[in-house]
């Protein structure tokens, strides 16, 4: 007797059945290359032999592994390996069957966990980013119109980045610009501003998914020992990233720029904003370019994807977090197919009104990304 996928009965926690009928916008979906060779058709032939010989080079010690081994192969749910082969997220049909169709997903915002931005060979990095975007367009966004890609760019080379953004400008398949977050400098620094200028002029948000390697220790207190620490520390890095964008004055210079912090959750936002406001009040002479309190930039220019949705002892505490940070700031995301992904039906263990659900699960994202 073969097991059938059973209908998921509503969990004991409050789970309004209206959620099942609501169309969702999933702001963090991870597609994947089936093989590194998938990019070769989009790369000049010199790179074919170069990659065979020299491969990719990043500021990491191993050719094909992390010094912090992850808790699951490919960081993914063990049931997300496609039956036809390839790593999790690499098979569009399986992604449709496991994610897009059953959860009634109207749009899925794609984030590829690979970039040329932290490639140490700059020409290779540039070529890789262009190839990724060509591949995403041909094999993903054109094949399933629900999927929207991010323009992957070689952010350490701002002129090349601006060219790549302009190459896709106006193409509705691309909904944002993606930068690696562990960049060589904090992303608020001026060297990256030409990127923000181009993105803002085109109305494209910048999507900031935890990624990349810059050779700095994973914490400002040095290198931790365990993956259980590293997994949390990357979320702390995202907090510093938000602080950088605000304090460097990116949103002052580009008031229309929208930034989406992806995969860091959201419960940290209020305390970071309160802390920044308090210390800005006594150090504001250092940053005269800021014309508003830091918390106001958090509320005006930054959005946060929901995953991982935290699980306090009292689920209602999440409501308090959202009241403080703003219900319009939250963008629902599954983070499919990662092991720590959130189920749309069960991630939030507190009751939301229908209006709140529509905001969090769809309308905030529709507004940020300008989706129909």
């Amino acid at each position: 007797m073969t097991p059938q996928d059973g209908h998921t009965i509503a969990a004991a926690a409050p789970s309004p059945t209206s959620r099942a009928r609501l169309k969702l916008i999933d702001c963090d979906v991870h597609h994947a290359l089936r093989s590194s060779k998938d990019l070769l058709p989009y790369m000049a032939s010199r790179w074919h032999s170069h990659l065979e010989d020299f491969g990719r080079r990043r500021p990491v010690p191993f050719t094909a592994a992390s010094p912090y081994p992850k808790t699951a192969p490919a960081l993914s749910r063990t049931d997300s390996w496609p039956p036809n082969g390839g790593p999790p997220g690499s098979d569009l049909v399986f992604l449709q069957e496991q994610l897009l169709d059953p959860y009634n997903i109207e749009y899925g915002m794609l984030h590829l966990l690979m970039s040329g931005m932290d490639e140490r060979n700059q020409d290779l990095g540039n070529a890789t980013c262009s190839a990724i975007n060509d591949w995403q367009h041909e094999h993903w966004t054109q094949k399933d119109r629900r999927l929207k890609a991010a323009i992957v760019v070689p952010g350490e080379d701002p002129p090349a980045t601006v060219r790549e953004i302009e190459r896709w400008a106006g193409n509705p398949d691309f909904a944002q610009v993606s930068l690696v977050t562990h960049a060589i400098e904090p992303l608020g620094r001026r060297r990256y501003w030409p990127i923000y200028e181009a993105a803002a002029a085109l109305g494209l948000p910048i999507g900031l998914h935890s990624s990349g390697n810059n050779g700095h220790a994973v914490t400002s207190a040095g290198w931790c020992s365990y993956y259980v620490e590293e997994q949390h520390n990357v979320a702390l890095s995202q907090q510093n990233l938000a602080i950088s964008l605000v304090c460097e004055g990116v949103f002052e210079r580009f008031p229309a720029l929208k930034a989406v912090i992806v995969e860091a959750g959201f419960v940290w936002v209020p305390s970071v904003a309160w802390r920044l406001d308090q210390h800005w009040a006594r150090m504001r002479g250092e940053v005269p370019h800021l014309t508003m309190k830091p918390s106001e930039y958090f509320r005006r220019n930054i959005w946060y994807t929901s995953q991982p949705a935290d699980e306090p002892e009292k689920p209602e505490y999440l409501r308090q977090s959202l009241d403080w940070l703003g219900w319009d700031r939250l963008l629902f995301a599954t983070d499919y197919p990662h092991w720590d992904m959130d189920s749309p039906e069960q991630a939030f263990k507190f009751r939301m009104t229908e209006a709140e659900q529509r905001q969090v699960f769809a309308e905030n994202a529709r507004a940020v990304y300008g989706l129909a």
């Binding site: 808790t71 700095h216 702390l236 510093n240 304090c247 920044l276």
Partner: protein, 356 residues
């Protein structure tokens, strides 16, 4: 000043060295000559530049002098000013950031001798942290042993951003010595600059560096929990100083959630990280990083879930509040009393002796 509240224990004041010249009497001849001949000075921490108004409240400064250098001002502004019955001195000077371990250890010893002679011996309400060169755990333990007999030393002082996160085993001999002697471990905001002030690299502004102390403290809590420091040293209390605390609930939620999924990597962590932190870690009051309203703070305190975790502090002479407004909105009188006295007594076992 609210006269209805008892005088408390100020768990963070900063006596400041005017310069290396003040340490000369406490250095041996070899180091005196090294310092003189090589012109060594200027070891104020970049994390706390003394001239910055944030590090010396205007009405707490003597004109022309580095804030915190005057005992008489500290007595008047901090001790008398807040009716505190005791204050714990946390000297911030460059010991931990020096690469020459021997020099660092010599400086640490000199600083402790200077604190003893010119602060503790002159003002009976003062207590202190032991300055150590944690760069070399053996030398640090020597210094702890040297001071342990003086009951006025209640804590060993470290900085939050060092070479390795503070749960790392390289620090364990220091924790063992501290636990043996009933000393707590004080982790103060600040960096030895062994690493960039964020994992994303070097921000442009001091404001960002200062804000980033909060993330550094969180990285250290992850390390202390998951390296098993709380299991290895069950009697030891860690006090996070000038760290802020309003980030704590969100931090504990995430730490608990991650642990549940990855537990087998660190099987000695047999309780949720939040529970371990509640039992072993304390936080000084300043800066409060307060939410907008008192009601918000009450909710935040409820989320922290324990009323024994906060320790009264002024952070004198750093400018964290104006006038006497040391208390944020949302703290009941009952909580203030705990924060003023009971919590510091419990966080610092060696204080109990002194207060009896």
């Amino acid at each position: 000043m609210n006269t209805a509240l008892p005088g408390g224990i100020d768990c963070d004041v900063h006596p400041a060295l005017p310069g290396m010249s003040a340490l000369m009497p406490y250095l041996d001849p070899y180091w005196q000559e090294q310092v003189t001949v090589r012109g060594i000075d200027g070891l104020d921490l970049a994390s706390f530049p003394p001239q910055m108004e944030a590090n010396g409240r205007r009405d707490w400064r003597e004109s022309g002098a580095k804030p915190g250098t005057s005992l008489e001002r500290l007595q008047r502004d901090a001790l008398d000013g807040f009716g505190s019955r005791l204050a714990i001195c946390n000297p911030l000077y460059g010991v931990l950031a020096i690469y020459n371990e021997h020099f660092a250890a010599a400086l640490a010893r000199a600083i402790n001798d200077w604190i003893t002679a010119e602060w503790l011996d002159r003002e009976p309400r003062l207590r202190a942290s032991i300055t150590v060169a944690a760069q070399n755990a053996e030398l640090a333990v020597d210094e702890i042993e040297r001071r342990a007999g003086d009951a006025r030393y209640v804590q060993v002082l470290l900085l939050a951003q060092d070479e390795a996160p503070l749960g790392n085993r390289r620090y364990w001999p220091i924790y063992a010595a501290a636990e043996r002697h009933g000393l707590s471990i004080g982790v103060h905001a600040g960096s030895t600059f062994r690493h960039a002030t964020t994992s994303n690299g070097w921000p442009s502004y001091h404001l960002e560096d200062y804000a980033a102390h909060a993330q550094a403290f969180q990285s250290n809590l992850l390390s202390l929990v998951h390296e098993g420091a709380f299991h290895k040293f069950p009697a030891l209390k860690f006090v996070l100083i000038e760290s802020g605390f309003t980030w704590l609930p969100a931090f504990m939620w995430r730490a608990n959630k991650t642990w549940r999924g990855v537990r087998a990597e660190v099987p000695w962590v047999d309780r949720p990280p939040g529970d371990l932190i509640r039992d072993h870690v304390r936080f000084t009051l300043q800066p409060t990083d307060s939410p907008p309203t008192g009601a918000d703070m009450e909710r935040l305190l409820e989320q922290i879930g324990r009323d024994d975790m906060l320790l009264f502090s002024t952070d004198y002479p750093h400018w964290q509040f104006d006038g006497q407004n040391v208390w944020p909105a949302g703290f009941s009188d009952a909580l203030k009393r705990r924060v003023l006295l009971d919590n510091p007594r419990n966080a610092y076992p060696r204080l109990k002796e002194a207060l009896q």
